[in-house]
Amino acid sequence: MKSVLIVEDEARIREFIEVNLSARGYRVETAATAEQALELIRQTLPDVLLLDMRLPGISGLALLDILRDESWTTRIAVIAMSASTAHLEAVNDHHPEVRQTLEKPVGVGQLLEAVSQAIG
């Protein structure tokens, strides 16, 4: 069973991703901030990290910088999510390790495809 960590500050979007991935057999954990996410990553090392770029406090982009410095995290498949094209372009420019990007709003189909491709 593949594990997915969802980092998303909007509760409803978090819920949408969580129920859909759970229903399709993923083990899902959630975090509303980058700080919570870091703690969970260190504890459980998920297979997939679904990361919203716009977060209160440490941003998604900053979290990616932190993870790059911790080599043991390189096996996590990262999917970056944002409502902003500019944020996703910044991710593509600076973080080639990010497997997939998702521009919100996202439907279930796109979400599932991105996750399965990221795991690849």
């Binding site: 409803r12 979007i13 949408f16 996202v106 439907g107």
Partner: protein, 591 residues
């Protein structure tokens, strides 16, 4: 004496050789343009024609010319005079010298010239100044001086002819002044066109004026609504400013008040202690004054003032020049106003552009957040590979429903905000009671507010306000919705209404975390909102910006009170309703 005179005239004629030359036997006329038909042109000296006295002929000629002729002895005493002018009489002059008769400033140059001729034995000619017998007025003379020789050929005295050239001199002087003033006006135009700021340019204009007209002190005064302000002033060394204070009451200055009322220049060549000059209006040393109005679009917006310590200094030519300066300054002020208007318009456009950019990026994000939920849950319900239980389905639908409401609220806020920005949100003010408005809002928000302890303190004897009750309800609703968004439940909310002067103040307090100091000056700025709490609730960050505009459109104010305890207090004031405000107004741009 006759012999002396002949010698004298002869020498004058030699000096003015263009008219006559004299040989031993006769004088012949060589004037250009003399016709052959004229008897004189035949080459005979006039006295031979009339057979009369040579001296008599020249007396009558000289009588009609502006030329005085006279002789001096070696001590430069007048020994013979003819055709005296300017009030001088022969008995007073004979036996005396120029030094006896004229002030030193006139006597010395003349005496110098005459001494030179005495010593050198060679004639000379020079323009000199004298004053009439009983006045200070300056007259200009063309003075020609020749030595008179005795039989041994020694210089025994002087023969002089002085021709009055005052009119010509004054005309030249006037022309020179006109030219200087005209050149100065060109420089002033250039000075005023520089982009260094009007105040600075005006100071340079005063400096330029100083080069061409006599003044002890000058200034530019701008008339403002309540006070007049000296924007630029210049004084000669050791002279007090023309007007002592930088700002003063225009009504108390009789002279400037008169200029403003008539719109005409006011010139006084003999300032005295008469009522208009007494008091502090102008410095005590002023003896001559010229004040010119500066008009912009038919209104006197300022004054050019010049003063002099001496009376009779501002000649008509100077006053015309000063009028010209005042006109140039009027144009410059008009241009400055136009430029300022243009800059303001540009600034408004720029701000509108900035706002539009912020709006676009914020709106795109803020709309996508509810859209992301809606899209997510609709596709969740549509997906065929999973069957959801009824409770989950219902929860997803509630989510969609609430996110649609959020989106709708966002759209209405944006609409309200853009209409307020464009001045198109109708504000229909009338008599309104705060108690009714509060009751209305509390009932609208009954469900979410049920989780708070709401206390209202609104005295029964409070006067009505002059307001659009729907818009004020919107403001109060915004404040309460912010509390619902950001403040923990089961806490107190207080609404306190009180009368302060001519206004009614409504204060809404909560027991939340308050506004961090670094965010306090941002709370009314569009699209700024509580960052830390963002995760809890959406919203475009427009509620307080909209509220501020609504309250300001009512002539009131909205503010965040100083935080001396936990929580935040927002308060707004509205004008008290009075009968004189009838009929209810309709602001321009009402849709």
């Amino acid at each position: 004496m006759a012999k002396t005179l002949r010698t004298l005239i002869g020498s004058i004629f030699r000096r003015r050789g263009k008219l006559f030359t004299r040989d031993a036997a006769s004088l012949s006329l060589q004037a250009d343009g003399a016709t052959e038909s004229h008897p004189v042109a035949a080459g005979r000296f006039p006295y031979q024609l009339f057979g009369g006295d040579e001296a008599q002929v020249f007396r009558s000629v000289l009588k009609k010319s502006p030329t005085v002729i006279y002789a001096h002895d070696r001590d430069l005493r007048y020994v013979w005079v003819y055709n005296l002018r300017d009030g001088y009489r022969e008995p007073d002059v004979l036996g005396r010298t120029d030094r006896d008769l004229l002030p030193a400033k006139y006597a010395e140059p003349i005496t110098g010239l005459k001494r030179k001729v005495l010593e050198s034995g060679r004639g000379d000619r020079q323009a000199v100044q004298v004053n009439p017998a009983s006045s200070d007025e300056t007259r200009f003379y063309d003075l020609s001086v020749e030595p008179l020789l005795d039989k041994q050929g020694n210089v025994a005295g002087l023969a002089c002819a002085a021709t009055d050239i005052t009119d010509q001199k004054l005309a030249e002087e006037r022309e020179r002044t006109q030219r200087l003033l005209a050149e100065s006006m060109v420089r002033i135009t250039t000075l005023l066109n520089r982009s260094l700021g009007l105040d600075h340019n005006l100071y340079e204009v005063l400096g330029e004026m100083e080069r061409v007209i006599p003044y002890s002190a000058a200034n530019f005064v701008i008339a403002q609504t309540e006070a007049a302000r000296v924007v630029s002033a210049r004084e000669a060394p050791g002279i007090d400013p023309l007007i002592a204070t930088d700002t003063f009451d225009l009504e108390a200055n009789a002279v400037l008040k008169a200029i403003r009322e008539t719109g005409q220049p006011l010139v006084s060549e003999a300032v005295d202690n008469s009522p208009e000059w007494s008091g502090d209006a102008f410095a005590g040393w002023v003896r001559s004054y010229a004040g010119l109005p500066i008009h912009v679009d038919g209104t006197v917006v300022g004054f050019l003032n010049v003063g002099h310590e001496s009376p009779q200094t501002f000649l008509p030519a100077y006053v015309r020049y000063l009028e010209g300066v005042a006109n140039k300054v009027s144009l410059a002020i008009r241009n400055a106003i136009l430029v300022t208007d243009l800059q303001k318009a540009l600034e408004r456009t720029r701000r509108a552009d900035d706002l539009r950019m912020t709006l676009l990026s914020t709106v795109s994000h803020e709309m996508r957040t509810p859209l992301a939920s809606i899209k997510g849950f609709t596709t969740t319900l549509l997906a065929e590979d999973v069957t959801w239980d009824e409770a989950s389905e219902r929860r997803f639908l509630v989510n969609i429903d609430e996110e649609v409401d959020k989106l709708n609220e966002l759209v209405s806020q944006l609409l309200d905000y853009s209409r307020l920005e464009a001045g198109q949100l109708p504000i229909r003010r009338n008599q309104a009671g705060m108690a009714a408005i509060i009751a209305d809002v509390l009932s609208q928000l009954q469900i979410p507010l049920a989780e708070y302890r709401v206390r209202v303190d609104c005295p029964a004897d409070l006067p009505p306000v002059y307001a659009d009750d729907r818009r004020i309800a919107q403001v109060l609703g915004n404040l309460l919705r912010n509390i619902i968004k950001y403040v923990p439940k089961q806490t107190d909310i207080r609404i306190d209404v009180s009368e302060r002067g001519e206004t009614v103040v409504t204060a809404v307090s909560d027991q939340g975390a308050g506004i961090p100091p670094e965010q306090q000056d941002q709370v009314f700025v569009p699209f700024k909102r509580g960052q830390a709490e963002r995760a809890l609730q959406g919203g475009a960050g427009l509620g307080l910006a909209i509220s501020k505009r609504i309250i300001e459109a009512h002539g009131g104010e909205i503010w965040l009170e100083e935080q001396d305890k936990a929580g935040a207090t927002f308060a707004f004031s509205l004008p008290v309703y009075s009968a004189s405000q009838i009929p209810p107004d309709e602001p321009p741009g009402t849709a």
